[in-house]
Amino acid sequence: MKETIVISPVTRIEGHAKITIDLNEKKEVDQARIHVTQFRGFEKLCEGRPYTEMPALTARTCGICPVSHAIASSKACDNLLAVRPPKAGRNLRRIINLAQIVQSHALNFYHLSSPDFVFGFDANPEDRNIFKLMQTNPEMAKDGINLRAFGQKIIETLGGKRIHPTWIVPGGVSHEISKETKDAILAQIPEAMDIAQKSLKFFVSNLHKFEKEIKSFGNFPSLFMALVSKKGKLEHYDGLLRFVDSEGKIVEDKIDPKDYKDYIGEAVEEDSFLKSPYFKPYGYEKGMYRVGPLARLNVADKCGTSLADEEFERFKNLNNGKPILQTFYYHYARLIEIIYAIERIEELLNEKETLNPQIRAYAQINRNQGVGCSEAPRGTLFHDYKVNNDGIITGVNLIIATGNNNLAMNAGVTQVAKTFVDGNNIKEGALNRVEAVIRCFDPCLSCSTHAQGVYSSIVEIRDHNKELIESIKRG
């Protein structure tokens, strides 16, 4: 009989999940797993809907990154129409996508993760949250709120509302941008950049406190996947897929996202509603890969904007130019991406073409299948639609950014649990670290809380088939 420690719900992540840590007879950690406990069924419920509904409908997959879904969805629809949106439409989609990356990254760093950096992983659990930070470090909390608001306000200004905007549509966007709007956004840039740089400085100057965490928070070789531009630069909206290995060797390059099925397989495990994608040529589970900010910086040759590239160079020096393997550095990569996104938003707004009122291409259904792919805050996102000639959806396949990291998240919780958790003397701070590795990945599970329980207070006894035999509440 094995004992299992259950952490449920995992907190300060975007979504709800539980983690189980299996102990062996000696009460040492055997393995740990993350279980995503919600099933939403979008791939079925979209069938029968007109394709024009898809961007707004699939945005509802997620309240944190609705823009990403609307972007990937609209791109899939562009392909159904066989059109490419005009330049202004593409630029505006890029701006709203980058704005979302800023707000989502700020949310992860400030609202969810910073309490661990400021108060420490072993701090009193009642204090480890943004509300406490508002009392003890009001400036920092305000910075976080303002940086997130910078992104959200751009989304609201362009899209009409902050969450689930309906402005991103098949063929482009629904409304052009006025010069006044452009100037209003540009006026916000200096303050946002100031906060972004302060955040990075704070993080880097505190890294020495977390040496043990850096070493053990999902520090292992894996593949990395991301979109890159045709010139190999950091790219979030368009581009081609690239896989690199942990030595930095390019394994696959210039893959058209519509061929994703040749490279990515999806496996089903019985203990999680989240499927486990893997790099097909290497098979399951050898084909483990990571996506998201760390992967994007590992895969790209450079960022392509001046301030971000200065930081990118310092970042790459952490491992002599080779890919950074420590999951803890997702936070670092996220902060560099915020700087990049702000610089790019400014560049794009200043492009003359962005104000062109030609923003949308109109057409009928010209293809019966279309794939849309973009980089969401958490990684590469795929929407794959089939329609009939009337534009009614007959099939949908979605690969959600977070799903790509599923195998790596499991490897990560196992590694950190083996480093910090002692089955004979379970400490709250150790379990917080197991959750914190999940926060590094910044998963967007959009799920529900299901199991009650206190950290370490529930120990489940299961047989080898994982069937529950007994659940014991500890003191």
Binding site: G41, C62, M134, E270, S448
Partner: protein, 180 residues
């Protein structure tokens, strides 16, 4: 409710978290509200169990699993007032759209048809059991306040919370409506 700090819980069940994000979209007004609210259970804090003596529990999302049912009952038992936040909590909304096809058929689609590798079953270990039908909160428990929206806009959340703190009735139709 008076101007003494009130104990607040928040949770999202089967929803997209958009209403919780709208809560954060109050921006700096959260700092102001946090003088009157004690957030003691929420995805934003590290509490693991539903505390006793909650004054106000804000619930986003519909009910779709056996654990949702269990937890919502516990929330009802431990809370003086429950606020259903957003259309999924109030009507089922997008979360209930899978009722049209049915749970079983939706599972088969996701885990058999659209999978490359499956050992023969859809997820059924450790994860909760899905109900045959997704239901809104008031089909499981009594609900005190309903604030619609997809998601509920930040201004509506602010007005309602301010109203509850000050003991003033708020006309939510000024700030939100279903489907907004």
């Amino acid at each position: 409710m008076s101007k003494t700090k009130i104990n607040v819980g928040t949770i999202w069940l089967d929803g997209c978290s958009g209403c919780h994000m709208s809560f954060l979209d109050m921006d700096e007004r959260i700092v102001e509200l946090s003088q009157y609210l004690n957030i003691i259970y929420s995805p934003y804090v590290d509490a693991k169990e539903i505390p006793a003596n909650i004054d106000l529990f804000i619930v986003e999302g519909a009910i779709s699993t056996d654990h949702d049912l269990e937890i919502i009952q516990k929330i009802r038992d431990n809370s003086k007032k429950i606020l259903a936040l957003g259309d999924c909590a109030i009507t089922g909304n997008i979360s209930a759209m899978k009722n049209l096809a049915g749970t079983e058929i939706s599972l088969e689609k996701g885990y058999f048809e659209l999978a490359d590798l499956n050992k023969g079953k859809y997820p059924n270990k450790v994860v909760p059991k899905l109900l045959d039908k997704v239901i809104p909160l008031n089909e499981a428990i009594s609900v005190d306040y309903f604030v619609p929206g997809c998601p509920t806009p930040a201004d509506a959340i602010y007005a309602v919370l301010k109203g509850l703190i000050d003991g003033v009735e708020v006309d939510t139709s000024k700030y939100t409506r279903f489907g907004l």
